[in-house]
């Protein structure tokens, strides 16, 4: 499949997501408005009110009901999309687990925004990081183009018959959601072929008969039963198996999409940037990875062997890919845009360190908590991090494993 014709548009992250949903022939969108996801639901309601999509669009009275409706609609066989952020995602918490437990392939965009209190409408990853154990696939994008591409891929990933796992696509509040960028849009026909329509796999229903995995009076099935201690554990093990299969499938779908769009994001799970011979490197997610690439270029132009590992897929966690990518790095700084109160550093730091525990080399790994509540992460602060890494290399000593960078003392 040669790279297809596309047209270049100026879209912000929210608009890019809404456009992808518009092209994906979604059956039901049930959502509740919350800054900064609002432009997604606003653009989509314009498509609906102007008759440009045949999607049932429902403005629910809360996020708890937005996800409950989405789950139930998906269980009924519809292709479903919703979107939220911050407190809205937190209000969905209970139903996140039920959605993955019911293996309902709901696709949800999250505009990453800080959690209250105090209340804040700006970017950090505290809302989605805290949901990393909920059984959803989690993809963090770096720019508005990737938000468009990842939303299209998310339908294929979530609905893959070997997975049937709900999928979250994360885009940073304001740095992406409200930032206009150059976005190449695939032709409708190309998207229709790539995304296709939702195929319902067969499962063993009543009396062991093979029936479509959806609520259908013709082949009745019961979903969400009472599981006692004799079976619940097995269902959770089953869910973990699906999550393990997801890594390969995400890469396959990512590569297929790359062939028709010409756009790759590493191997779909991680994106190493100038890491091959890097001595010092940072690990980062989201839009700040873009700023870090610019800093790495500047350092490289001065002969400093700097690199970056961007994590694109955070669940399932790409263990081997991370170990291989960081193999030769002498000192690593993990950048967390969220924090785990009372722990040593943030969640990304925890998981990078524990993954490297089994690796052959054990470089010093330090952690920087940055940008909470939308505090900007300019090039100058990223330069500070790489300067610290150089000092660690020279002195072979780590003064402070975890630092808050950019906060006023």
């Amino acid at each position: 499949m040669a790279i297809t014709k596309q047209n270049l548009r100026a879209l912000n992250g929210d608009e890019a997501v809404a456009y992808a949903v518009k092209q994906s022939d979604v059956d039901v969108v049930a959502a509740y408005p919350i800054t900064p996801q609002t432009i997604i639901v606003e653009r989509f309601s314009e498509y609906v009110h102007n008759g440009e999509v045949n999607t049932e669009f429902v403005c629910t009275e809360s996020e708890h009901s937005a996800l409950s409706m989405s789950l139930a609609a998906s269980a009924t066989g519809a292709r479903v999309f919703t979107a939220s952020a911050s407190a809205g995602l937190a209000l969905m918490h209970e139903i996140l687990y039920v959605t993955s437990g019911c293996r309902a392939p709901v696709v949800m965009a999250i505009a990453n925004r800080a959690l209250s209190a105090p209340i804040n409408i700006h970017c950090d990853h505290s809302d989605s990081m805290v949901e990393r154990d909920a059984g959803w696939i989690q993809i963090y994008v770096e720019n508005s183009q990737e938000a468009y591409d990842s939303t299209l891929q998310a339908f294929r990933i979530a609905e893959h018959s070997d997975l049937l796992l709900p999928t979250m696509v994360m885009l940073d509040a304001f740095f992406l959601s409200h930032t206009l960028e150059s976005v190449n849009i695939l032709a409708d026909e190309t998207v229709r072929k790539f995304v296709g329509t939702r195929k319902i796999p067969l499962i063993r229903g009543h009396g062991g008969k093979l029936v479509p995995f959806k609520l259908d009076p013709e082949n009745p099935i019961t979903m969400g039963p009472l599981d006692l201690h004799d079976y619940y554990f097995e269902h959770k093990r089953q869910q973990e198996e699906a999550m393990q299969r997801a890594s390969g499938i995400i890469k396959e779908i990512h590569d297929e999409y790359a062939r028709i769009s010409g756009r790759k994001y590493g191997n779909g799970l991680i994106e190493p940037y100038r890491l091959e011979d890097a001595e010092i490197a940072t690990v980062c997610l989201g839009s700040t990875a873009g700023t870090t690439k610019t800093v790495v270029d500047q350092l490289r132009s001065k002969g400093i062997k700097a690199g970056l590992l961007r994590l694109r897929t955070y669940r399932p966690y790409p263990v081997e890919d991370i170990i291989n990518a960081l193999e030769n790095v002498k000192a690593i700084a993990v950048m967390d845009r969220s924090h785990s109160f009372g722990a040593q550093g943030g969640p990304v730091f925890h998981e990078i360190r524990h993954v490297l525990y089994d690796a052959s080399i054990h470089p010093p790994v330090v952690n920087y908590i940055y940008g909470l509540g939308g505090r900007d992460m300019p090039q100058s602060l990223i330069h500070e991090i790489y300067k610290d890494l150089q000092k660690i290399l020279e002195t072979k000593r780590v003064e402070k494993p975890v630092q808050f960078i950019g906060v006023r003392e």
Partner: protein, 200 residues
């Protein structure tokens, strides 16, 4: 250590072609729209673009800022703009309370909506060096649009002062953004402001 525009590091990198613009206005005055229209015009010239507001709970009338980036290369930066090359000020009353020239690069351009000439204005605001342009955007907008919406007038003046975008692209972007009648009026505003803008 901000990597400020005009330094050697900045120039020998792909950043050389990166232009950064900051817009000052008040909530509801259309500063964000000005930022977006400039970006949409630049994309028509095959450039890579970014446009974003500085978002807060600004209500109508409260001071706010918006930003545009234009480059020949893909823009990876996702952070604030600290050393803009161009600053556009939609509302002269902001000069009293907001330091509009903060961080403006040495070879930068400040474009202000005011009836004063650049020389008169320079006396009033402490601006050392840099280039200063003024345009009576409110009068132009009120005359042609019938309302003091100064964003498209400021676009014309910034195009003239910075030379970073040509009028045809701005006109096309405006044409796509507004309904026909309103688009024509705004194009007229851009042309008028382009003509009326004065440097020192």
């Amino acid at each position: 250590m901000h990597l400020s525009r005009g330094t050697k590091e900045w120039s020998d990198l792909k950043l050389a072609s990166l232009q950064e613009i900051r817009w000052h206005g008040r909530g509801g005055q259309g500063a964000w729209t000005a930022s977006e229209l400039l970006a949409k015009a630049a994309i028509l010239e095959g450039k890579y673009i970014q446009s974003f507001p500085e978002f807060g709970p600004e209500r109508m009338g409260a001071p706010m800022r918006a930003f545009t980036r234009i480059s020949d290369d893909p823009i990876n930066l996702h952070c604030g703009i600290y050393t803009p090359g161009v600053v556009g000020v939609l509302d002269p009353t902001l000069l009293k309370t907001v330091s509009v020239a903060e961080g403006l690069a040495e070879d930068g351009v400040l474009v202000v909506n005011t009836r004063e000439s650049p020389v008169e204005l320079r006396k009033r605001i402490n601006l050392d060096g840099r280039k200063l342009w003024t345009v009576p955007a409110t009068d132009i907008a009120t005359k042609i649009l019938g309302r003091p919406i100064t964003n498209t007038a400021m676009l014309g003046a910034v195009a003239r002062a910075s030379g970073m975008i040509d009028l045809k692209s701005l006109e096309k972007a405006v044409g796509e953004r507004f309904p026909k009648k309103l688009a024509e009026k705004n194009i007229e505003v851009i042309r008028e402001a382009y003509k009326e803008a004065r440097s020192e």
